[in-house]
Amino acid sequence: MSEETRTPRRVLAEYTYQVSPVERGYTGQTLYVNLSDNTIAARPVTDVMKEKFVGGRGFGLWLLWHGVKDDTKWNDSENEIIISSGPCGGITQYPGSGKSLVVSISPLTNVVIDSNVGGHFGPLLKFAGWDAIEVQGRAEKDVIVVIDGPNGRITIEEAPDVPVDTHLVGHWLVEQMAEKEEDRYFMSAVSAGTGSENTRIGCLNFSLYDRKRKASRFKQAGRGGIGTVFRDKRVKALVVRSGPVRGDSNHPADPARIARVGAKMHKEIHDHDDEQCRMRKRGTSYLVQIMNDYDLLPTHNFRFGSHPDAPRINSDVWEQRFTLGLPDGCWYGCTLACSHAVDGYTLRTGPYKGQAVIVDGPEYETIAGVGSNCGVFDPDAILEINFYCDTYGIDTISFGTLTAFVMECYEAGVLDEEKTGGLELRFGNGEAAIELLHQMGRGEGFGKIAGQGIRRMKEHFVKEYGADPQFLQDIGMEAKGLEYSEYVTKESLAQQGGYGLTNKGPQHDEAWLIFMDQVSNLLPTFEDKAEALHYFPMWRTWFGLCGFCKLPWNDITPPDNAQTDEPAKVPEHVQNYVDIFSGVTGREITKEDTVTMSETVYNFQRVFNIRLGYGRRDHDDIPYRSVGPVTVEEYESRAERYDEQLRDILGLDLEKMDTGEKMAALREYRERQYEKLKDAVYKRRGWTPDAVPTVETLKQLGIDFPDVVAVVEPYQ
């Protein structure tokens, strides 16, 4: 970056280096930055890291384990933010090959969060010489960290001039940090926003330069509040610049194998996307009507699964709003191209009112979370919230789910206008939701309370307003401290487990069983569910080790997929990934190996949670709203289905029971079912009934290191 165009900043630390070339997906170095003492250092990637932890989330967990203490909290300076792509990250031939994983201790859960994100930062970081970056410590004043690969220079710089809100960082990156158009291509920034400073639900934004739009676009590492950690460390942006990306930048072992599979996959998408999910035209918004049709679309704080107004926010509407015909992949070579945007949207509210902006999205989760779950069916309100969440650095999923909780509390009389400072937060009041978001951005009003997340809101409402703790516990859709993402799990025991039995909290990175269970009824027994709750989370975890996006795995399927032995696994695509991983790394793996690789990292993460004081059986408890009907209204909305269950499964005589008694019987049964599911799943995973990995399991996976065994030993 030219010295003439850059605002001169005080450089606190400088590090010069030779860019390590990538060899079979790895540079062999990770970058360590400490903002407390301004250390910048290179650390070697060890054989253990590559063999056992692979990359991405695995590297993040390994580095974090060694960086923190048993009692480290999210806002202790020794908490870290670690970003890593993975050995396959940055190849260009296969759709969805530019993802990164971000790992940190979460302000919401106090355990490890790992968050999946697109954009260009992770791959460009690798091509600038680094398999991962660790950011530890806390700066005295706001800084940026700049990793300039072509000039072999890394700096920590004081940054009073750099904006905080992400869309402004995007302008700054393009206008201030790049002289020529071509310089913008291979630059990326990580940023958060003012909302991250004032809430626990901060997200990170990862930029990509959109050449057709000639502007920065952003993808989000949404879950877990890592944006909050970012601003706590007083970082405004991490900036990376690399040399040009080429088809062989990862220097793969077998480029022909990768090219063959990639070209085949592009053709598959070209030939079949239109008749399948139409990702290229409508992205993940295609899910809205399917979920509504199957009664799975979160509505009014997960009370219901559908709404007559859902068509107002389904993909027909978004196809009209997105700018079509642009190659909307978030990394090179993604022809699934689901990352659509609404261009030239004029903001109606807030500090940027009147500006015409690019709205990145909305994705399904945002539409469902801030839309139907809050009773908001106005596309413009969704766009307004989507934009401001992104620029403020706030996770749209946590915002949507916690606002839905607030709205139910308001309608139930737990909250009123006095307590909310005048915000009439009823279901459907999009204007009030938008103002709540702006309060989070400004750090004032009821927004400050709401921005703490559902778990702390429950405590606050009980303590300050005398609310009924059981009611709040039942309707507050959080588990482990993290807000639920946007699927109704009430009628699917497998999906309850899919969300509840995760390491990091209820999010859909790991489990995506909805259709298999609720729609196709493919998991009738406990063992079937436990098996699916083993395979699918492990398979999905694998993507985060390698740098892959999961959507090309099953949002497009080969035309003969239904005729295969296990169509839900999409076997031909699993083979594609095996070919690519082997082709990049030269490490020949099988389909089964992908599960073992994930089990290793997954078990390590569970032990990490235990080390931090959590991770036992009760850590996997879930609120009753996610399991069954909390209110009479909910019971009566599906009375036939619930009555049938009570009659057929429990053999009860419903004539003699009132609704209250029926609800109690159903609750007792379903909560017992979930406990039985825990038993089956823990057994399948090689854990004790208290959800602790056994030493035998750790030995089998080759992670029975002394410090790991020491954590689980007391619980064997």
Binding site: I269, G325, G333
Partner: protein, 128 residues
């Protein structure tokens, strides 16, 4: 716009066009590096695949490496190409080719060398 055209009735299946094309652009006689491919089906019928400059690939290219030059021919700027092969998968014919020896794909650009060397006059450059 001048594009390549092929007459299957005149083609004798000698494959010289493939040799000439790959020799011109890759300095080696290798059908896998030719931008024209001759196919023979089971019944002895010949057909050819090569780019007709339709331009569908331009839209799918994320780096704007594919563009139409002043003569209307679809060209690839190697400097901008990241070798993703999206164009290869999206070509309807498919007439965008790739070979593992280089990361960028390649296609017919109506240079006319095959026309010169075809012994059967089965190839021509025509105005479209």
């Amino acid at each position: 716009m001048k594009v390549l055209s092929y007459d299957p009735e005149l083609c004798v299946g000698c494959y010289i066009c493939e040799e000439v094309c790959s020799d011109t652009w890759f300095k080696v006689a290798d059908a896998e590096k030719s931008s024209i491919r001759i196919h023979e089906n089971g019944e002895g019928n010949l057909s050819a695949v090569f780019c007709n400059q339709c331009g569908e690939c331009i839209e799918v290219c994320l780096t704007q490496a594919l563009y139409r030059d002043r003569k209307g021919i679809v060209r690839l700027r190697k400097k901008l190409c990241v070798g993703c092969l999206s164009c290869v998968g999206f070509c309807p014919y498919p007439a965008m080719f790739y070979h593992p020896d280089q990361t960028e794909p390649f296609k017919c650009i109506s240079c006319g060398k095959c026309v010169e060397e075809c012994p059967a006059d089965a190839l021509a450059i025509v105005d479209q």
